[in-house]
């Protein structure tokens, strides 16, 4: 499945411009996390990395479907 992933903050510095297109093996949030960390080991050095699907923080078991809006959420620092 081809996924377009929105990147913000430091994830843009690590991965490149947003949205980032990726051919995904498997279909869960956990699969996506594993793929991204393998391809971009610097992501593992962040304090946390969450994945949002359709504007909600997603659990690792969540199944990503074609057309879902997927975003990488590095540690937030608003305020």
């Amino acid at each position: 499945m081809e996924l377009k992933i929105l990147l913000f903050g430091i994830t843009k510095d690590i991965i490149g411009s947003s949205p980032h297109t990726l051919n995904m093996d498997g279909n869960t949030v956990a699969n996506l996390r594993r793929m991204l960390i393998e391809k971009y080991p610097k992501l593992a050095g962040l304090k946390s990395i969450l994945i949002a699907v359709n504007n909600e923080y997603a659990d690792e078991e969540l199944v990503i479907k074609e057309g879902d809006e997927v975003a990488l959420i590095p540690p937030v620092s608003g305020g």
Partner: protein, 136 residues
């Protein structure tokens, strides 16, 4: 009132929005840009947001402030883009019939915003820049 915008934030506008005859207290929090961090001079900050999701997360905070902390009305305004030293990056105003609820709801709102809302702050120094809190 939930806003994420590039223009300067107005504390008065937030206070006006939460003012009601039934309320006897309004609590405001204004988060401003500090000129140093860990002894290094900060030139300015840059904020980036994931706007659609940030608005949703701010709405969740506003709902909880009302339902769980007794806020009568709440305004949360957050700046994005370049923010200069001394300028407000975030403004929260909370009204309630009695003061305790507005203090509690305001503290809940800013503490939760810092933990859950997808907004990122970059500190710009003379000799570099750092995404805040990105690394352990």
């Amino acid at each position: 009132m939930i806003q994420i915008k590039e223009e300067q934030l107005s504390v008065e506008e937030a206070i006006k929005y939460v003012s009601y005859p039934a309320c006897g207290g309004i609590n405001t929090f204004v988060g401003t840009v500090r000129n140093s961090t860990k002894g290094r001079n900060v030139l300015h900050l840059e904020f980036e947001a994931y706007p659609a999701m940030a608005i949703l997360e701010l709405k969740k905070i506003a709902e909880r402030a009302k339902n769980e902390f007794g806020a009568f009305e709440i305004a949360i305004l957050h700046r994005i883009g370049k923010v200069e030293i001394g300028e407000a990056a975030v403004v929260i105003a909370v009204s309630s019939p009695h003061r305790e609820a507005s203090f509690a709801a305001c503290k809940f709102a800013i503490d939760t915003l810092k933990n859950t809302v997808p907004i990122w702050k970059k500190e710009i120094f003379e000799d570099g820049e750092v995404w805040v809190s990105a690394h352990p």
